[in-house]
Symmetry: C2
Subunit: 119 residues, 2 copies
DNA sequence: TGAACATATGAATAATCGTTCATACGTTTA
DNA sequence: TAAACGTATGAACGATTATTCATATGTTCA
């Protein structure tokens, strides 16, 4: 991390070293898109609440709806999004489908978010 | 983390122990909202790209616009959102305003996101 | 002070998103 | 097999959001 010189904007080209370093560190377009898509999934308090329930236990859809005071449909829609992002995984047991956390990145990411919020 | 019994949905009350544990671990309504707001900020590839530039150096607005091939206005709008979320901080130097990362949570959160994406 | 430059911002528009409602799908059991 | 239960999903609606355009604010320098 280095400071750029102050005369930065009245020239045709930005500093070549900055451009070079940025291009080296910048992920591919597709990865940037996927990253944004992933964080979008965390960007809804309903889904965050679902994740916090799954921090405690493997839970079926109707129990999630009950605990969170939501309709079964709304929960199901959000679970689909969480599942597509591979943040949760599903397991069928008879009529019920039980959801659980897919991996520990979820905990880490949310923990870091909480740390940031608390200044 | 423990499995719930299979007969979960044909009863008036969900398991009391689950409710209790969830209520213990669940943050306040306000924190859930703030968490979602924070991740919403990460949920846009333009802002992610801005952050990746700031990983390399402290940069002024017009250089950001140039490097990212965006209009100055669009960059400025997004910088405002990043600043409100305290992910970046600004420093005026003459006519220019230089932006930099506010703290290391940004790097950690994005790093965890990248790990998750790569399975 | 006035002109030039860098940045910020309000309004408008198009696109995206979460919930609801209705209904379909899958499983169990009587 | 038919009914009951749990879950999934498409369409529609209202709300939110990123970008653009026009313009305002703030700073430097002649």
């Amino acid at each position: 991390m280095e400071k750029q010189s102050a005369d930065c904007c009245d020239q045709v080209f930005v500093h070549e070293d900055l451009v070079k370093k940025v291009n080296e560190g910048m992920p591919e377009e597709e990865e940037l898109y996927d990253l944004a898509e992933l964080f979008k999934v965390f960007g809804d308090s309903t889904r965050i609440r679902i994740l916090f329930v799954l921090f405690e236990a493997e839970v079926c859809v109707c129990d999630l709806a009950e605990v969170l005071h939501m309709t079964q449909s709304a929960v199901s829609h959000q679970l689909k999004i969480l599942k597509q992002a591979k943040l949760v995984s599903a397991r069928r047991e008879g009529k019920s489908v039980f959801y659980s956390l897919a991996d520990d990145h979820v905990r880490t990411i949310i923990a870091q978010g909480r740390e940031h919020i608390e200044e």
